[in-house]
């Protein structure tokens, strides 16, 4: 299949350059090439395939097979803008064709109606700049459905009384229930809550030439060796390549977007594997590089005409970062769950999606899932009960007993948009190519911390109701490590308070578009990838319409 894909010359002005091939970029490539456009996707990571997706924890977790490389791409962290940032591993994202969708958990619930209109519903919140989206759930609904049917999501429509309206059922039944899911379902119902089969971007049935999940047990953080996980690599990029109009160009590290004297972008400048520089010319550029690298690229592209970086007349590129809050609890049970078999999550609940703020005393809401997503060595190093000996017979016996009897509850929640929480360019630290490194500045809004603690308590309550023999929850601390990268180039109607409009077009540059986690206006309740993909389907429609009306040139 790949041999049929075109090879465009860098001097050949293609219709679109897409920067990044992940959740958003992969779908963008599929949609635009299907719609007849000539597309080059520049991906900084390698083009790995299913044969590369081993179950070797060292290769994947220690050697960062699928993710950003801290040695080549150092990062720094500080809590507030007044501090000097310290070099520190600050984030993880997928760095291969397919991006983060290759290694994610694949929890795929839709955002609810409230996520788009929270500001008008609950008013301003001190210490945050909460805003409504310029689009509503109803605008995005057809595209959520597209994700479910075209990318592949398993689930059961109508199973949750809290679900937003949908135009079509899921294309496939839910994945099988795991022991953790049964325990969760029974205990949650005892407490009067409403558990339901988790919507997952993993195939429960063979579909579109891809296999159903074989429950191998190496899911979160690993690539799927049978193509059952609905990554962009498995579900979108093959379709794009089949059009004969889309070239995926791996090992291409875009570090500048070029502009002309009219203030239009003309293409993307990148290093190839040998660190030679190229300019790929294009009529328009769409940046889908994730909520950290997209703002970084805009800032790196600063020039005389755009001294604060591209699309940054508002000065908010990189700001209002949201990581999602959350609380985890772990339980050990009498009998064997063998929850290492299978994907991570089989049951979730949304009873806490819209909390009564007056009653709980803080803003926010969340979802909760039952899971086991820990591979053997990682389990032994980080998931034994507090106080377990770290070596000797006590260590060995606990390991032997607990691996098959442990499950986790994961509460996922809102983060408030705070201006000082951001990704910016570190003034001193450089990456292996000599470019300014990413600096993470983050201090959770106090309400986010309160919500995380509240979710931890609910998780412990559920483990109690489930009759866990042992249960514990780590203390909630302020976050210093970013996984969900949201809100850093947010969407809005006002060019002073947002970076892109509802077409994902930057307010400042007519032929520059951004689409990924950076576009989100609010954080949802975790699990953002479903929404990122729906946005990408929608953005591709909008961009296609603009291009066909000749409004890009």
């Amino acid at each position: 299949m790949r041999s049929d894909t075109p090879k465009y010359k860098t001097s050949d002005e293609v219709d679109f350059v897409i920067v990044g091939s992940g959740a958003a970029g992969g779908i963008m490539a599929k949609e635009l090439s299907t719609n007849g456009f000539r597309v080059v996707v520049l991906e900084q990571g390698p083009y790995l395939t299913e044969a590369d997706f081993v179950h070797d924890e060292i290769r994947v977790l220690t050697e960062d097979l699928l993710t950003n490389k801290p040695k080549l791409q150092p990062t720094s962290f500080r809590k507030t803008p007044n501090e000097k940032a310290k070099p520190q591993r600050a984030l993880v994202y997928g760095r291969c064709v397919g991006g983060t969708s290759v290694h994610f958990t694949a929890n795929f619930w839709r955002f609810h109606e409230i996520d788009f209109v929270e500001r008008s519903k609950i008013g301003p919140i001190p210490g945050a700049d909460l805003r409504d989206w310029p689009i509503t759930y109803a605008d995005l609904e057809p595209y959520y459905t597209k994700v479910e049917w075209e990318i592949g999501v398993s689930g059961l429509a109508g199973a949750s009384p809290f679900d937003p309206p949908r135009s079509k059922p899921y294309p496939m039944p839910p994945l099988p229930v795991k022991g953790s899911g049964v325990i969760f379902e029974r205990a949650a119902r005892k407490l009067g809550w409403h558990p339901f089969p988790a919507p997952m971007a993993i195939l429960s049935q063979p579909r579109a030439g891809r296999s159903a999940c074989v429950n191998c047990g190496f899911c979160l953080a690993f690539g799927c060796e049978v193509g059952a996980k609905s990554s962009s690599l498995a579900a979108a990029i093959p379709v794009a390549e089949k059009t004969g109009r889309c070239e995926i160009r791996p090992n291409s590290y875009v570090h500048r977007i070029e502009t002309d004297s009219n203030g239009r972008v003309t293409g993307a400048v990148y290093f190839d594997e040998k660190r030679n520089t190229h300019l790929q010319k294009a009529k328009a550029v769409i940046v889908c590089a994730n909520g950290a690298e997209t703002p970084r690229l805009l800032l790196l592209s600063a020039n005389k005409q755009f001294p604060n970086g591209l699309a940054n007349s508002s000065g908010i590129v990189g700001k209002y970062l949201m990581l999602n809050s959350g609380g985890v609890a772990t339980g050990v049970f009498e009998d064997q769950l063998n929850d290492y078999k299978g994907f991570a999550v089989s049951r979730i609940l949304h009873d806490f999606y819209e909390l009564d703020h007056e009653k709980v005393g803080f803003y926010g809401g969340g979802g909760m899932d039952a899971r086991f997503d820990i591979t053997p060595a990682s389990f032994a190093l980080g998931s034994l009960p507090p106080g377990t000996p770290s070596w000797g017979k006590g260590f060995k016996d606990t390991l032997a007993n607990n691996f098959t009897r442990t499950m986790e509850l994961f509460g996922h929640g809102t983060s408030l948009p705070v201006e000082t929480n951001s990704f910016s360019l570190d003034p001193d630290l450089k990456d292996a190519w000599g470019l300014p490194a990413l600096c993470l500045t983050y201090k959770d809004h106090p309400d986010d911390i309160k919500l995380s603690n509240w979710l931890s308590q609910r998780a412990l309550e559920l483990l109690d109701a489930a009759g866990a023999k042992q249960k514990w929850a780590p203390t909630i601390g302020e976050q210093q490590f970013a996984v969900h990268l949201l809100g850093t180039c947010r969407m809005g109607n006002d060019p002073k308070t947002s970076v892109i409009n509802s077409d994902h077009r930057t307010h400042d540059i007519k032929n520059l578009f951004l689409c990924d986690g950076s576009s989100l206006v609010t954080s949802g309740r975790g699990q953002p990838t479903m929404t990122i993909e729906a946005l990408s389907f929608r953005a591709a429609d909008r961009i296609t319409a603009l291009a066909k009306r000749g409004e890009l040139t």
């Binding site: 044969a51 081993v54 179950h55 070797d56 924890e57 060292i58 290769r59 977790l61 059961l156 199973a159 809290f162 099988p176 229930v177 795991k178 022991g179 953790s180 049964v182 325990i183 009067g192 809550w193 409403h194 089969p197 063979p206 296999s211 074989v214 429950n215 191998c216 047990g217 049978v226 049970f333 009998d335 064997q336 769950l337 929850d339 078999k341 299978g342 009873d351 819209e354 909390l355 053997p376 060595a377 990682s378 389990f379 032994a380 190093l381 980080g382 009960p385 507090p386 106080g387 000996p389 770290s390 070596w391 000797g392 017979k393 060995k396 606990t398 032997a400 691996f403 098959t404 514990w472």
Partner: protein, 222 residues
Amino acid sequence: MNDNLSRRNFLSRGTAAVSAVWISAHWTAIVAAAEHAHQAAKSSAPAKFQFFSPEQAAEIDAITARIIPSDETPGAHEAGVVYFIDRALTTFAVDDQKTYRNGLPQFQARVTELFPKLEKFSSATPEQQDQVLRSLGQHGGGGPRMYRAAPGAAPFFETVRVHTVLGFLIDPDSGRDGNRDGVGWKLIGRDRDHMFQPPFGHYDKDYAGWQPDPPNAEKTKA
């Protein structure tokens, strides 16, 4: 251990337990997994030590054997963890060479300090060995989930401990000379196969299937 099975044995071993419908639905996946296992099986077998001298290897082996001791079930020694560490130090853990080079003599000095008649950890009794390890401090096993071994900076014993755990529990088919014969996975109950069908364990085996909430269930807010 006669349990030297891997994914490539799935077709011959697994069919009895797996329904034909499931097999046909997953056929492409099974072939992919079988090929995958075959690739893994091609990787090299344990050979001579690359980094350790035989004397050093004996000491490291003795330390790993107190971290995951051998009793009724195999421990780090039977899993060949010392071979895994030797190979690690010339591959992914090359940054830890110094930790071993400097740490081992200091560690042996500690042995002599506690037991003046002994020069080597390996010649101490298990009780004496545990006393040496206890003198280096006790680690809490809980805490935040550890995502990876901290490179370089970790003190000697913690580095050996992390490497021992990795070498004991790594996918035995990953070609890293660890978890020999899958003894680590056998201990923790991790089946060496890489494809499973439900029910997976005790709690889902009698699950009656999804039942919707009763129709009169209130949509309550917490």
